[in-house]
């Protein structure tokens, strides 16, 4: 068997294996977390870890509110929903947290104090605290009972629970709504988890007993599900239109459905292998990478197109000769495009690295399949379709014209005007909050839940670091003290040190409780209440270690490398942030926006590097400095695209810059083919590049309809950039001295 035959079999084997791998892994391994698009801060691993933890803590929480109807119906409906959520295996009721929290506080009640009580006991106001406990005992429907009289007559646990629980969190049932809160125990950005919770909600809504009731939801999982549904819809629209465009264009070009079938086969081949490689290497694929994958359809069919068009141009040649016609420009084009995709690997954004791999592997396999498989499945020569004739005679002729000096000056002046206008009107956007418009329905539901529960979560937090767990805890306590002094302590939602103080603080609190409260006042309280256990608090502290800390408190702490850290979430903007050397106030949205700004600048500089590298490759390939002209349309396209997008009101983002990398790759392809085949001899080649560019513009340009700004700016940048580089590609042949042009002239 020939080498080509062996390679063909290997390619087919790779396809079958890839298809099997994708079929078994794709459904479970799609990441829909919009935060996965955010650049990981590789400079500060502790900060990255803390931000990730803070995000997980916030993302996994869900709250449901059931309103309307009568209380008994709401109650029944809530029980049904809770039972179904628990049965799904992905939900943990917050009531379990409450129980664990009570048990923890009860076990530690002689070693922990409310901040106010600490001050009062230090002032010798133990009698007043004991009296407050007695008032609780006498209050109607008070919480004191026989069990607490024997174990905690001073109601220390109750005091801790009420003072340490964040203000605004309702502890009592709401008279107007049933509230269910809890944690999703699986990653909320996984589609199967979203589908499972979604089906529980649908089942609940469809139940006849819930008619007339209204269900409100709050939680990142619902936003993720909304985003995923949008992405799925966009993906199917983009994929569908691209497919139709491919079928239509190919038929008009070749008057045969064999051509589109071959093209779609190449698309399936390259996407499958690209997906398999991405899933294998990353373990999962981001939904946005999948959307960009749909855009790849338009790019991978380019190679098949270039080959098939050679059949129209020179039908008398056999497949080897036709392949030889395109192997050099196709290989060079593939390498420059893969290089442009590979540049995305340098950005610390997992989703972009996935796009880089998906794109690179997809294009490389499309190249290999075009050269090895397409000639074998092409069959008899295809006929020139009406589209091909028209493209050749109208657009092809326009692109085949060698621009004269007057046209060059005109284009130059227009370009300058567009650049100036674009710079005048254009602006950049790095604010992550403006990247994706959330569902209005979900926002309204969340607002209602906020008004019902009084709880307003926030992504902002303090990051406290220490060399040991103890030092980090001591520093967190210092932060809380500083906040109290600034009257900002109310902003703190949770702080692990409040529930698990440092050893020093524990020892001090134990002494205060023992000497300031228990010793002088317990006997009096017991004699009033009729209790007998005077040694009720003895030895409690020694056994406190046996009780496990509630998971949700433990999760506020972490360790990265040798550094211990804790996060202290706050629920409002702080007017006066304490300035402590070991404490950092983190607002993730701002942090990510700043990173996006820096990566946008970096990506823009990276484009310069990509152009320089492409130029070098071309000089090396053609061994002539004049080959640098090939990069001219690309450079002009890269400069003009942001200006044009700004004129249509689209800001320049990090994602626009990412799109320009693809423009660099695709634009150079067109220029290479123009350079290789100038003048009349290249008329059929131009049909190929027009078809290829049209495919890319349609498929990627459709992303411009996306509601997600990153996708929109990426899509429009690529579409506009590709169009511009194609239109400017004739300038490659301006005084071209390529061997082909010289021989033709």
């Amino acid at each position: 068997m020939s080498k080509a035959g062996i390679a063909t079999i290997l390619l087919l084997l790779a396809f079958v294996t890839s298809a099997a791998y994708v079929a078994t892994h794709l459904a479970d391994d799609i990441d829909t977390n919009i935060l996965s698009l955010l650049p990981g801060d590789s400079h500060d691993q502790t900060l990255s870890g803390a931000m990730e933890r803070a995000n997980d803590e916030a993302a996994n929480r869900v709250v449901f509110a059931i309103e309307g109807g009568i209380a008994a119906d709401r109650r029944k409906a809530a029980k049904r929903l809770l039972s179904d959520l628990i049965a799904s295996g992905e939900f943990k009721n917050s009531a379990d947290d409450g129980k664990a929290l009570w048990q923890w506080l009860f076990a530690n009640r002689t070693q922990m104090l409310c901040p106010d009580d600490r001050v009062r006991l230090a002032k010798g106001e133990g009698g007043a605290i004991a009296r407050e406990a007695m008032v609780q005992w006498y209050a109607p429907m008070g919480s004191g009972g026989a069990a607490l009289l024997k174990t905690d007559p001073l109601l220390l646990t109750n005091r801790l629970l009420t003072c340490l629980t964040p203000s605004g969190i309702r502890m009592m049932p709401n008279p107007d709504a049933e509230i269910i809160s809890g944690v999703i125990t699986a990653p909320v950005y996984r589609l199967d988890v979203q589908d499972k919770i979604g089906s529980v909600i649908r089942k609940w809504k469809d139940d006849p007993s819930t008619q007339g009731l209204k269900l409100e939801r709050a939680g990142a999982i619902f936003h993720a599900a909304y985003g995923a549904a949008h992405a799925r819809k966009e993906m199917s629209i983009i994929g569908g239109i691209s497919t139709l465009a491919v079928l239509l264009f190919y038929w008009t070009m070749f008057r045969s459905f064999r051509a589109p079938v071959i093209a779609m086969g190449m698309v399936a081949f390259s996407l499958t292998t690209g997906l398999a490689a991405t899933l294998l290497l990353f373990g999962s694929i981001h939904i946005i990478a999948l959307v960009f994958g749909a855009a790849l359809i338009g790019m991978v069919v380019d190679y098949t197109t270039y080959y098939l068009v050679t059949g129209l141009a020179e039908p008398e040649l056999d497949y080897r000769a036709r392949r030889a016609r395109i192997v050099k420009p196709l290989t060079l084009g593939m390498l420059t495009s893969v290089g442009a995709f590979a540049a995305l690997l340098f950005f610390p954004v997992s989703a972009f690295r996935q796009i880089a791999l998906l794109g690179s592997v997809g294009l490389a396999t499309a190249w290999a399949a075009t050269l090895l498989l397409t000639p074998r499945v092409e069959g008899r020569a295809m006929k020139i379709g009406p589209g091909a004739s028209w493209t050749r005679n109208v657009i092809g002729r326009f692109l085949g014209n060698r621009p004269d000096r007057r046209l060059a000056v005109g284009v130059f002046l227009v370009a300058i005007a567009v650049l100036v206008l674009g710079m005048w009107r254009g602006h950049t956007l790095d604010d992550v909050k403006k990247f994706q418009a959330p569902s209005r329905e979900l926002v309204a539901e969340e607002a209602q839940i906020r008004s019902l529960t009084g709880f307003s979560p926030s992504a902002a937090f303090f990051l406290v670091r220490g060399d040991t767990r103890e030092s980090a805890t001591v520093r967190e306590e210092q932060l809380l003290t500083a906040l109290r002094e600034k009257d900002e302590a109310g902003a703190v939602l949770w702080a692990a040190s409040r529930f698990d103080p440092s050893r020093t603080q524990r020892a001090a609190d134990e002494v205060l409780i023992r000497d300031g409260l228990v010793k002088p006042h317990l006997r009096e309280v017991l004699s009033t209440l009729g209790g007998k256990e005077t040694n009720v608090y003895e030895g409690v502290g020694a056994n406190s270690g046996e009780q496990a800390m509630p998971t949700f408190i433990r999760d506020f702490r972490g360790r990265t490398g040798g550094q211990f850290w804790s996060i202290v979430p706050v629920n409002q903007a702080l007017a006066d942030v304490p300035s402590l050397p070991f404490v950092q106030f983190v607002e993730p949205a701002r942090q990510y926006s700043e990173l996006f700004a820096s990566y946008r600048k970096l990506a823009s500089s990276g484009l310069v590097l990509a152009v320089v590298l492409t130029g070098l490759m071309l000089v090396l390939a053609y061994r002539s400095l004049s080959a640098l002209k090939i990069v001219f349309p690309t450079v002009a396209g890269l400069l003009l695209t942001p200006a044009v997008t700004s004129l249509v009101g689209l800001p320049f983002t990090f994602f626009s810059a990412m799109g320009l990398f693809l423009v660099a790759g695709a634009g150079v392809d067109y220029a290479i083919f123009q350079w290789e085949n100038p003048g009349r001899a290249g008329s059929w080649t131009r049909v190929g590049i027009i078809l290829a560019a049209a495919m890319t513009c349609i498929s990627v340009g459709m992303l411009g309809l996306s509601s997600v700004l990153p996708v929109k700016s990426f899509g429009l940048s690529v579409a506009i950039g590709v169009f511009l580089t194609l239109m400017l590609s004739p300038f490659v042949s301006m005084q071209s001295k390529s061997p082909a042009s010289e021989s033709e002239q």
């Binding site: 006498y138 429907m141 008070g142 009420t162 107007d176």
Partner: protein, 191 residues
């Protein structure tokens, strides 16, 4: 003859008793017909804790007007708890009023509002938190309404509440799952 006379006496006594019962039944309107509005009732509370020989005894005054509720315990401690839409404050021994911590205030507010609704006969608002046994049972002439918390956690905290009265609420009994109980007796409202 003596037997006849004795029989007539018994009949007479029974008639009197019957007439008395009938008049009581007629005198007690439905608990849903209680007049709402402002409240000013003094109370005596006894709290019975399992294993403790003597109940905890307290007295005080419950006042309510519109959204403002004042629960004023006078003995054994002088504690005045005031609940308004702005929050909850507490003052000891006639001293200045201090804001109560969120957790405590939420519980106290719920309890005070429940108590005020019971006293006003506002059973409709209680139905959002309790299963209200309506129509009320008649017990020794008075009606009795039983409130059972809908929320399980609240059920463990409060237990079952029985409100008794005639023209107005006279007693509230709370029986908890652990066997502890409370009995609150309200003095008749001033005419």
């Amino acid at each position: 003859m003596a037997n006849v006379i004795a029989g007539l006496r018994i009949l007479g006594a029974a008639s009197v008793l019957f007439v008395g019962l009938a008049s009581t039944a007629i005198a007690c309107p439905s608990p849903e017909m209680m007049a709402g509005g402002a409240l000013d009732r003094s109370f005596t509370q006894e709290k019975f804790i399992s294993g403790v020989a003597h109940p905890l005894h307290s007295t005080g005054q419950l006042e309510a007007e519109n959204d403002k509720i004042v629960w004023h315990m006078l003995t054994p401690f002088d504690v005045k708890t005031t609940i308004t839409s702005d929050g909850i404050t507490q003052s000891f021994d006639g001293g200045s009023a201090n804001k109560v911590a969120t957790g405590s205030s939420e519980i106290s507010t719920m309890i005070a509002r429940t108590m005020a609704s019971m006293m006003r006969g506002d059973w409709g608002s209680l139905k959002s938190i309790f299963a209200v046994s309506m129509p009320a049972k008649v017990y020794e002439g008075d009606w009795a309404v039983v409130l059972t918390p809908l929320d399980e956690r609240l059920g463990k905290l409060l237990g079952e509440i029985t409100v008794r009265g005639c023209k107005e609420v006279s007693t509230v009994d709370i029986v908890r799952p652990d066997g502890d109980r409370e009995h609150i007796q309200f003095e008749a409202a001033a005419p």
